[in-house]
C-alpha cells in the first residue's frame, strides 16, 4: 500500500529537480500538484491503516517511518504554500522518497502490544514524529543556507544564487522549524517519561522492554543528546549570536542524529523500543 505514495514522491522529485534546473513555472506547478497527489494518496494509506487497527500507525518499525514521511510532506507543503518558494523541494524530496522506500518494500505488521495502550503513548509517538519532521525541514533549509552563503562569500553568484530565496528568509525558516521541532521534542520526551513511570508502576512492569527503559538505553540516550543539541542551538541563536551558518550546521548535525536514531538504532540496538 505504501508503494503508491512512493511512486508519486519519486515522480514529484523528478519534477522538482527539473523545475530547479530549468525554472519553468509550468513544471513547478506540476511538481507541486504531484506532491499534493502523493500526500493525498499517503493520507489515504495512513487513514486506511488507522481505521484498520484503530490508531495512527506508529508501532510497527516501518509504519512509523511512513507516518513520519507523511507528516514531513504535509509540513513541507505548508511551507511551500505560505512562502511561495519551491526551491527547497529538490532537497527535501529525496529524503521523503528514500525513507518511504523502507515501508513500501518492508511492510511491518501493525500490532499494538498490551503495554502500549492508552492515550499517553499516542501523544508520545506522534509529537516525536512531528518534531523529527520539523528537524528534517530545518536541516534541508540549513543546507541550502550554507550553499547560498558560500556562493555569496566566494563572490561567485551562480547556480544557487539564482534559485534560492534570500539568506534572511532561509535563516528565519530554519529558526522557526527548530523552535517548533524543539517544542514537540520536549513534549514527546516528557510524555514518554511519564508513560514509562506509569508502566513501571503498573502490571506491565515485568515486560523486559519496560525494564530496559532507562537513560542508558541507546534510543532514549540518543534522543536526549538530540534534545541537548537543539536546546543549545536555540540558546546560542538567542544569546550568543549563533544564527546563520553555525545554526545551519547545527541543524544538519542534529538531524543526522535524529535519522541515526530513527532507522538503525530502532532496528538493531534499542531494547526498550522494540515493539
Amino acid at each position: 500500500m505504501n508503494l503508491v505514495p512512493l511512486v508519486f514522491y519519486g515522480i514529484a522529485l523528478v519534477a522538482y529537480a527539473w523545475h530547479f534546473a530549468q525554472r519553468n513555472p509550468v513544471v513547478g506547478r506540476a511538481a507541486t500538484t504531484l506532491l499534493v497527489a502523493a500526500a493525498l494518496s499517503h493520507t489515504f494509506v495512513v487513514g486506511m491503516l488507522t481505521m484498520e487497527v484503530g490508531h495512527v500507525p506508529m508501532t510497527g518499525a516501518t509504519s512509523a517511518i511512513s507516518t513520519f514521511v507523511w507528516l514531513l510532506a504535509l509540513s513541507y507543503l505548508y511551507i511551500e504554500m505560505t512562502t511561495d518558494e519551491r526551491a527547497m523541494g529538490v532537497f527535501i524530496l529525496p529524503l521523503m522518497a528514500a525513507l518511504q522506500a523502507i515501508p513500501a518494500f518492508r511492510p511491518s505488521v501493525e500490532e499494538r502490544a498490551e503495554v502500549l495502550q492508552g492515550p499517553l503513548f499516542g501523544i508520545h509517538v506522534s509529537s516525536l514524529l512531528f518534531a523529527y519532521a520539523s528537524f528534517a525541514v530545518a536541516c534541508v533549509v540549513g543546507i541550502t543556507y550554507v550553499l547560498l552563503f558560500k556562493e555569496i562569500k566566494a563572490k561567485h553568484l551562480g547556480f544557487f544564487y539564482t534559485r534560492l530565496p534570500s539568506l534572511q528568509v532561509l535563516d528565519r525558516m530554519n529558526q522557526g522549524a527548530i523552535v517548533i521541532g524543539w517544542i514537540f521534542l520536549t513534549l514527546g520526551l516528557i510524555v514518554g517519561a511519564i508513560w514509562a513511570a506509569q508502566a513501571r508502576g503498573g502490571y506491565s512492569a515485568l515486560d523486559p522492554r519496560v525494564q530496559a527503559m532507562s537513560l542508558l538505553d541507546p534510543k532514549i540516550f540518543v534522543a536526549l543528546v538530540c534534545w541537548l543539541v537543539y536546546s543549545f542551538e536555540l540558546f546560542a541563536a538567542r544569546r550568543i549570536g549563533w544564527g546563520g551558518r553555525r545554526a545551519a550546521y547545527l541543524s544538519a548535525v542534529g538531524f543526522l542524529i535524529v535519522l541515526f536514531n530513527f532507522v538503525p538504532i530502532s532496528y538493531f540496538f534499542s531494547k526498550s523500543h522494540d515493539f
Binding site: 525554472r23 553568484l157 534572511q168 550568543i240 549563533w242
Partner: protein
C-alpha cells in the same frame, strides 16, 4: 499584401544619426498620420526608441513603398536621404516577423535580454491602434511578438541577472536581506559617487540613509540634496555602521578606513546580523580581509563588475534557446500569413457564387412570387446553404496551404477556372484605416 520593414538601429547607425531620426520628437501620432497620408502603405506601426527607429508596414508594392518610406524618413525628420540610406536596412515578408520577434525578445537589444523593449513595442502598437494605422496583418504580427517576448522571458534566462553595477548591488542586497524596506543604509563619503549610490538606494525603498563624511557640512549638504537622508559626523562612524545593514563606502581616502579589526569590533555587539559592505572607492576604503569575518559580505567595484560580466555571459548562453522560440513562433505566424494569400481568391469566389445565386433568384422572381412567403424564404435559405456546402471544402483546403508558391498556383487556377477578374480579386481588403479628414 507584403510585409516590409525599413529602419536603423544601434548596430547600423551611429548615435548622432539615431538622435536625428526620432519619431517621438514630433509625436508618434503625427508621424503615423503623416505616413498614412502618403498612401504607400496599407498598414503601419512605428517603433522608435533610443536604439532603433523602425517602420513596419503592410503594402502591395514593396519596391515602391520602400522608396517612399526612405523619403518619408528623411522628410519627416529633416535628414538628407543620402545620410539615412547608407545606414538603413530593409527586411521583407516573414523575415519581418523574425526581426520583430527578436526585437520583442530583447535579442536585438544593446544589452541582451533587457526587458524595457517589450513595453516599447507594445506602446508602438498601441499608438498605431489609436491612430488607426494598424490593420489585421500588423495586429496579428505584433500580438504574436508580445507572446514571443513573454515566452522568452518565462522559458529562458535571457533576461535574468543584473547587468549594471548598481542593479547588481541591489540584487545582492536582496539575496542577503530579502526585502530592503526597513533596512538602514550608511553612505561613507559625500562625493558625487556616494551621492548617486545613496539616491539609488533611496529609490529601493530602504528605511533610512545616513551620510557620513569627514566634513560634517559636506555630509549635511549631500543629505539635504538627496532628501529624507540624515548626516552624521565622522566621529560617529563606528556607531553608524554598527546600526545599519548596508554600508557603501566612496571616499577619496588614500588608505583603508575600515580595517578588518575595526569591522570585527563593530560586528561583535551586532551578534549575527549580516552586514553588506559595498566598496566603490578607488583606492579601496575597506581592507579586503574584512570579508573573512562571519556575516560580513564585502564586495568592491571589481567584484560587482565581475558578477555583471558573469550575468552577461549567462544571458549569451541563453541566446540559442531564445532563438529556437523565435523560430517556432515565426513558423506559426508563417502558417497564418501564407493562408492569407488565398483570402482574395476565397472572397472573390464566394462573391461570384453569391452573384449567380442572386441572379437566378431574380430570374425566377415571377414564378416564385406565386409561392407563400414562408416557401420563398425556404428557397432562399436552401440555395444559400448549397453554396456554403459547395465552398466549405475548397476554402478549408486553400487555407491549409502553407507554402506560398502552391497557394499562388491554386489561386491562379481558381481564377482561370471561374473566370475571376483582376478587379474582382482586388476588390477585397480595402483600406482598413478610416482616413481622418485633413485639409
Amino acid at each position: 499584401m507584403h510585409l516590409l520593414l525599413v529602419g536603423i538601429n544601434h548596430r547600423t547607425a551611429p548615435v548622432e544619426l539615431r538622435e536625428r531620426v526620432d519619431f517621438h520628437a514630433r509625436g508618434l501620432h503625427t508621424a503615423l498620420n503623416a505616413l498614412a497620408s502618403r498612401g504607400s502603405a496599407r498598414e503601419a506601426v512605428v517603433v522608435s526608441t533610443c536604439n532603433r527607429a523602425e517602420l513596419y508596414v503592410a503594402c502591395d508594392d514593396p519596391a515602391a513603398t520602400r522608396r517612399d518610406l526612405v523619403h518619408f524618413v528623411s522628410e519627416f525628420n529633416g535628414v538628407p536621404s543620402g545620410d539615412v540610406t547608407t545606414h538603413m536596412y530593409e527586411v521583407n515578408d516573414l523575415e519581418v516577423a523574425r526581426h520583430l520577434f527578436r526585437v520583442a525578445a530583447g535579442l536585438d537589444s544593446l544589452v541582451m535580454g533587457e526587458p524595457q523593449i517589450l513595453g516599447q513595442v507594445k506602446d508602438a502598437h498601441t499608438a498605431a491602434g489609436e491612430a488607426r494605422t494598424a490593420g489585421p496583418v500588423l495586429n496579428r504580427l505584433f500580438h504574436a511578438s508580445f507572446g514571443v517576448g513573454k515566452r522568452v522571458r518565462t522559458e529562458t534566462a535571457l533576461g535574468s541577472g543584473a547587468v549594471s553595477v548598481s542593479y547588481a548591488a541591489v540584487a545582492l542586497a536582496r539575496k542577503i536581506f530579502g526585502d530592503l524596506d526597513g533596512r538602514h543604509v550608511a553612505v561613507i563619503g559625500a562625493g558625487e559617487m556616494g551621492k548617486l549610490t545613496a539616491l539609488h538606494m533611496k529609490s529601493q525603498a530602504v528605511k533610512h540613509v545616513t551620510i557620513v563624511s569627514r566634513t560634517m557640512s559636506h555630509a549635511a549638504r549631500t543629505a539635504e540634496a538627496i532628501g529624507g537622508a540624515s548626516a552624521a559626523p565622522w566621529e560617529e562612524l563606528d556607531s553608524v555602521v554598527g546600526a545599519c545593514d548596508i554600508v557603501i563606502t566612496a571616499t577619496g581616502a588614500a588608505a583603508a578606513i575600515l580595517t578588518k579589526a575595526r569591522i570585527a569590533s563593530i560586528m561583535r555587539p551586532r551578534r549575527n546580523r549580516p552586514l553588506f559592505i559595498i566598496d566603490i572607492a578607488m583606492p579601496r576604503d575597506v581592507e579586503p580581509a574584512a570579508g573573512e569575518i562571519e556575516q560580513v559580505f564585502l564586495y568592491n567595484i571589481d567584484d560587482l563588475q565581475a558578477t555583471v560580466r558573469e550575468n552577461l555571459a549567462r544571458r549569451a548562453s541563453e541566446v540559442s534557446r531564445a532563438e529556437t522560440i523565435v523560430g517556432e513562433e515565426v513558423d506559426r505566424f508563417a502558417a497564418w500569413y501564407r493562408s492569407r494569400g488565398v483570402i482574395p481568391t476565397v472572397v472573390a469566389l464566394r462573391e461570384r457564387f453569391e452573384a449567380i445565386r442572386r441572379a437566378e433568384l431574380e430570374r425566377l422572381h415571377f414564378k416564385l412570387s406565386t409561392l407563400p412567403p414562408e416557401a420563398r424564404a425556404r428557397v432562399d435559405e436552401i440555395t444559400h446553404l448549397i453554396i456554403e456546402k459547395l465552398l466549405l471544402t475548397p476554402t478549408e483546403q486553400l487555407k491549409a496551404l502553407n507554402d506560398a508558391d502552391t497557394a499562388g498556383a491554386y489561386s491562379e487556377a481558381l481564377a482561370r477556372l471561374f473566370g475571376l477578374t483582376e478587379e474582382e480579386l482586388r476588390k477585397v481588403e480595402p483600406f482598413t484605416r478610416n482616413r481622418p479628414n485633413r485639409r
